[in-house]
């Protein structure tokens, strides 16, 4: 017996009404690994963390992130993704205290690896890109970041990733964001009904 449905598509699929076997549980990573996505809303603004995506590789992560986090509005100028595994985060400090206060070491002076640094300035908000540092390893990168990017406000949490682990949209591919203007139908503002309600009420009043 196939499943009965009002949906012609479901009917065409010929789904059995009962399965003979229980669903076999998903294997680990059936849903792939996690990537963190960052978006620059406007030229000159910092890239900001927008959220994670699951994807089987970097390129797919980029595509998924583009769909998930920039499919509407006119607010994307650049996008980057980093495999979550490749981001090293510090502990979280409490408000008012900078996590850098606990960093007392001096830069090693060995600058053979390039790292990208992200700061979280407020609990509940998202990490923002601050810049690149050259350092020996992650720990050293944190030290260099403290000296290179001093912050007025206390830094609550820091993320660091090796530069080569970050996939960023190309400057010359910028026209890929231009389709956003054709997607007005995704915006609330495109759906105005008050005129029709008014006309209806007038009609009813006259009737």
């Amino acid at each position: 017996m196939t499943l009965k449905s009002l949906d012609p598509r479901v009917k065409r699929l010929g789904i059995p009404e009962e399965w003979d076997t229980p669903l076999s549980p998903k294997e680990t990573l059936d849903q792939f690994e996690n990537y963190e996505a960052f978006i620059q809303v406007k030229e000159g603004k910092a890239l900001e963390h927008v959220g994670p995506v699951h994807a089987p590789n970097e390129e797919m992560a980029f595509l998924f992130a583009k769909e998930q986090y920039s499919r509407r509005g006119m607010f994307c100028n650049a996008l980057c993704v980093v495999k979550t595994e490749n981001i090293i985060g510090t502990e979280f400090s409490d408000n008012g205290i900078s996590i850098y206060d606990a960093v007392t070491a001096q830069p090693s002076g060995i600058e053979n690896q390039s790292y990208e640094v992200f700061h979280l300035l407020k609990r509940g908000k998202q990490h923002k890109y601050v810049g690149t540092v050259m350092a020996k390893d992650f720990e050293d990168a944190l030290v260099v970041a403290k000296h290179t990017y001093p912050s007025q406000k206390p830094v609550f949490n820091v993320w660091i990733a090796e530069s080569e682990h970050i996939l960023t949209s190309n400057e010359e591919d910028k026209d890929m964001w231009e389709t956003l203007k054709e997607k007005q139908y995704r915006e609330a503002i495109d759906y105005k009904g008050q005129d029709r309600i008014k006309a209806y009420k007038e009609r009813m009043g006259q009737a």
Binding site: L3, S5, L6, D7, R9, V10, L13, I15, P16, E17, W19, P22, L23, P25, K26, E27, T28, L29, D30, Q31, F32, E33, N34, H49, G51, P52, V53, H54, P56, N57, M60, E67, Q68, R71, R72, T84, E85, I87, F92, N95, R123, G124, Q126, H127, W159, K183, Y185, R186, E187, A188, I189, D190, Y191, G193, R196, I197, A199, Y200, K201, M204
Partner: protein, 328 residues
């Protein structure tokens, strides 16, 4: 928490006694200050468990909720409606992704959540166990079911768990399109030809009872928990959400010449509260426990998607990856 018909775990009286009192006090003080809790922060087991359950149910509701509307994409009247409905359904599936990620930060992998959906171990909003007979049903869902969801989601976006709040903020921004689009569709039918009006009215009649169930049983009879409110997991009571929904949307439904199939529905001008015939909570329970018109179909469609998509996911999997939960 797409609807208030949310099932929380029964709580053991001892659960809190097992927590470290110092950490617990710090945690509660943080919430009292209005600060968000982040994934790496210490949190009581109970907080973690209830949040996972709530966010997961919400995510499932987005996925399953996309099914009755998705049915109508190919049959939506005209190109513009098809385009809009397709965009809306895409948004809903996107919401599920955001929510699954938020739940993942609490330690439950997405694989397990998707399994639990298909096996029936975790629930989703009861309202999607009803069928969308006509295009007008789809319009009702887009406007009013989403309106109900927004009432819940706006309340929850002020909750205490950072990743959930951030996901909800994103979701709420997109919901404003769903709401306007849905309203636009209903306006067109309700102020259209006689046939269109009748079709819309019939859909309203079908959906009103599930809509009243949507926010969950009255606080008088539901297991209500002060601690979830104190921890800002649950942000508004079922009754509060239902009242807010009625306040905002009943007048908008009436102004379109539509009626609601409850002769007792009115606003008590003295108390400022809406009064209505008590919804049939036995039916609500029956449907949530599996015996609704579409429960079987919804899960069967999900299972089929899981089974038939498996080889694609397998083909794409890189053998040397390891699982890491999202960071925020």
């Amino acid at each position: 928490m797409y609807g208030g018909g949310n099932v929380f775990e029964a709580m053991k009286a001892t659960a809190l006694a097992e927590e470290d009192p110092k950490e617990l006090a710090k945690f509660e003080a943080r919430i009292d200050r209005g600060e968000k809790i982040e994934p790496k922060d210490w949190m009581p087991q109970l907080y973690r468990k209830q949040l996972i359950r709530m966010i997961e149910q919400h995510a499932h509701s987005e996925i399953i909720g996309a099914l009755p509307e998705g049915t109508w994409i190919t049959r939506a009247p005209g190109f513009k409606r098809k385009l809009a409905l397709m965009a809306k359904v895409q948004d809903e599936v996107g919401h599920a992704q955001l929510l699954y990620s938020a739940a993942e930060t609490l330690g439950k992998p997405r694989e397990q959540m998707l399994d639990d959906l298909v096996t029936g171990k975790s629930k989703y909003s009861n309202i999607f166990n009803y069928p969308a007979f006509t295009w007008a049903d789809s319009c009702f869902i887009s406007w009013l079911v989403d309106a109900g969801a927004i009432v819940n989601q706006v309340a929850n976006s002020k909750g205490s768990y950072g990743p959930y709040c951030r996901a909800l903020e994103r979701i709420c921004a997109e919901e404003s399109f769903h709401l306007k689009y849905g309203h636009h569709c209903v306006i067109h039918l309700a102020t259209g030809t006689k046939k269109q009006q009748e079709m819309m009215q019939a859909a309203v009649n079908r959906w009103w009872a599930p809509m009243m169930h949507f926010f969950g049983p009255s606080d008088k009879i539901s297991v209500h928990s002060d601690i979830l409110m104190r921890w800002k997991v649950k942000m508004a009571s079922n009754d509060e959400c239902r009242q807010q929904f009625l306040d905002m949307y009943v007048p908008k439904i009436w102004e379109l010449g539509l009626t609601l199939p409850d002769e007792n529905l009115h606003k008590n001008l003295e108390t400022g509260m809406w009064e209505f015939t008590e919804p049939d909570w036995e039916e609500f329970k029956r449907v949530i426990n599996g015996d609704g018109p579409c429960n079987k179909e919804r899960l069967a469609v999900r299972r089929m998607a899981e089974e038939r998509g498996r080889w694609v996911r397998k083909a794409l999997l890189a053998p040397k990856t390891k699982y890491v939960a999202p960071l925020a």
